[in-house]
């Protein structure tokens, strides 16, 4: 088990920050992000220990994290609950321009499901079908949620000059 632990620790060191950031991007909260990452890694460890190490542990951990986030999304009083305990300082993703900061504020202001769709599409590079599977939604819902999120960002950013995605229409309900 010691060898496993060392191996897991190496995995932990390599993935922890990325998982926390992913959790943060999904929730908009540093504390929630870290909570999701820790929880995903505990689940990962048990699986590891039981000899069921996934072929791609990093991907598996991200999937666990998103699934966990999905169950969090279902809870109505996420914000009220999270107010009940101390949280670390407000985080922002590394951004080197005011424009990037403004964009982040706009992303953070999106409803959780819309933010999740954008993060999974634009950060994790998942297809619409993969996002749909991961979030347990029909593909059409993912598509329209994504559109709605982008529209809301454009509205928030007040930037009519941004190019709308004008590629060929995709044929899904």
């Amino acid at each position: 088990m010691a060898v496993d632990d060392a191996e897991f620790r190496e995995f932990f060191a390599g993935e922890y920050a990325r998982l926390c950031w992913l959790g943060f991007l999904l929730t908009g909260s540093g504390a929630e992000g870290e909570e999701l990452a820790q929880e995903a890694l505990v689940r990962m460890w048990w699986r590891w220990r039981l000899g069921r190490r996934p072929a791609d542990p990093a991907r598996y951990a991200r999937r666990v994290l998103v699934n966990r986030q999905r169950s969090v999304l279902r809870r109505a009083a996420v914000e009220a609950r999270s107010l009940g305990r101390a949280r670390p300082a407000e985080l922002v993703p590394p951004a080197d321009s005011e424009r990037a900061m403004v964009l982040w504020e706009a992303v953070k202001a999106l409803p959780p499901r819309q933010r999740a769709v954008l993060v999974l599409r634009y950060k994790e590079d998942l297809t619409e079908a993969e996002v749909a599977r991961l979030l347990g939604l029909p593909v059409g819902t993912v598509k329209s949620t994504g559109h709605r999120a982008l529209a809301r960002l454009r509205q928030r950013l007040g930037s009519p000059d941004l190019d709308p995605a004008a590629s060929a229409p995709e044929e899904r309900p």
């Binding site: 950031w21 540093g30 990037a100 993060v119 598509k143 529209a151 454009r154 709308p164 995605a165 229409p169």
Partner: protein
């Protein structure tokens, strides 16, 4: 750079960034892992403890507030950015206003972060007795708002008549007679500009005096009771909603391949609005033919309508249907599309006992650009508008 590229760049940057507090992360992980083994044993004990705590903590909180309202004085003072108005206690005046930086966004004052141009705003007050007595008496009202707020500052305290919690803490420095923490959550009326339904905020009412500290404490207590919520500290009325398990067929329409059913139905534990397409459900792949989205009651309340789109690729001509829910007083919905005559459809489902009605457009050419969706009352007056999918052509990829 377009929005897609900007998003990819912003979100992708975090991959190489360190996470604050990473140093102790593995220790925290080990503690959490150990806890998992003890959870089953601990659950029963926890339930008993929760019952005891509920008795100890909740019962005192349900008692009526003991705060005495402030005596009406000669003037009122408003601190809009922090959401309170105060009738000054008799014999006290504002010595000075504390200034901070706030940013007006969509009619709201939000803490200066990065959006818009920050402006100075009054964020706090320093009050002193007009007579100069008690000697050195001074009461400051300041605000603490960031995500590090520790809500244990209210534990063991009391509640105002309106339910807002408060608690007296001992003075933190010589001459300080005490500090009241008052829960003063920020409910933005324009929720989107705040990023959430509430922002944590505590008002600190801090008193100091060289003598007669009890008199200052009494005034502080009156102030705590007299603070009146204004602007962003007033809770907006909750929009109407429905139980999560509700399942209602709102209406049907179309025919053949384009036949549709509009419903409110649950999915994954949430209630939502769905458009079902029976032909595709029967002839398409498993899972096709149903478009469901979780309800957004606040959006419906604010905009009047809340619009979804469906790309009918299985139908000859493969157009688009726009559908959604509207406030109950909406009699018709008008779709305004670029280069096309406005199209108005009546709402339906008013007899279903729900807080909303539904609407479905006639077929719209795909790749259309939608300007706005307008909610109309029975007299044809505009009572709401929505800008769905702004900037995106209908049924384009995300």
């Amino acid at each position: 750079m377009n929005l897609d590229a900007e998003l990819r760049e912003l979100l992708g940057r975090v991959d190489e960034a360190p996470w604050p507090g990473e140093a102790g992360a593995y220790d925290r992980f080990l503690r959490r892992r150990r806890r998992r083994g003890r959870v089953a044993v601990a659950t029963t004990a926890c339930l008993a403890l929760v019952a005891v705590l509920a008795g100890v903590v909740l019962v005192p909180r349900l008692r009526p507030s003991r705060v005495v309202p402030a005596v009406p004085g000669p003037g009122k003072v408003r601190v809009e950015s922090q959401g309170y108005e105060l009738q000054l206690p008799a014999g006290w005046k504002v010595e000075r206003e504390l200034m901070g930086t706030y940013t007006p966004v969509a009619g709201e004052m939000v803490p200066a972060t990065s959006i818009g141009v920050p402006r100075p705003a009054v964020v706090g007050l320093v009050l002193v007795p007009r007579s100069g007595r008690p000697k050195g008496a001074r009461i400051t009202i300041t605000t603490d708002r960031n995500e590090r707020l520790d809500y244990s500052v209210f534990q063991g305290g009391s509640r105002r008549a309106d339910g807002r919690e408060y608690r007296l803490h001992p003075g933190a420095s010589p001459g300080e007679v005490g500090r009241y923490a008052v829960m003063w959550l920020d409910f933005c009326s324009q929720r989107r500009s705040c990023g959430g339904p509430v922002w944590p905020r505590i008002l600190w009412v801090t008193g100091s005096a060289q003598a007669d500290g009890d008199r200052v404490l009494a005034v502080m207590k009156r102030i705590v009771g007299a603070l009146r919520p204004i602007t962003n500290s007033r809770r907006p009325p909750a929009p109407p909603t429905v139980p999560r398990s509700i399942e209602v067929l709102l209406g049907t329409g179309g025919s053949g391949r384009t036949a549709w059913e509009a419903r409110i139905e649950p999915l994954g534990g949430s209630s939502g609005f769905s458009m079902r397409f029976p032909w595709l459900q029967e002839h398409g792949k498993k899972g096709q033919g149903m478009h469901w989205e979780s309800l957004e009651p606040l959006d419906i309340q604010q905009q009047g309508t809340w619009t979804l789109m469906d790309c009918l690729f299985w139908s000859p001509g493969s157009g688009v249907l726009l559908s959604g829910l509207a406030r109950k007083e909406v009699a018709a919905v008008r779709f305004e599309l670029e280069g096309q005559a406005p199209a108005t459809v009546p709402t339906f489902g008013r007899d279903k006992g729900l807080p909303w009605v539904a609407y479905v457009s006639s077929m719209v050419p795909k790749s259309s650009l939608i300007h706005r969706v307008v909610a109309l009352d029975g007299a044809g007056r505009e009572i709401g508008e929505e800008h769905p999918f702004q900037g995106d052509r209908l049924c384009g990829p995300i």
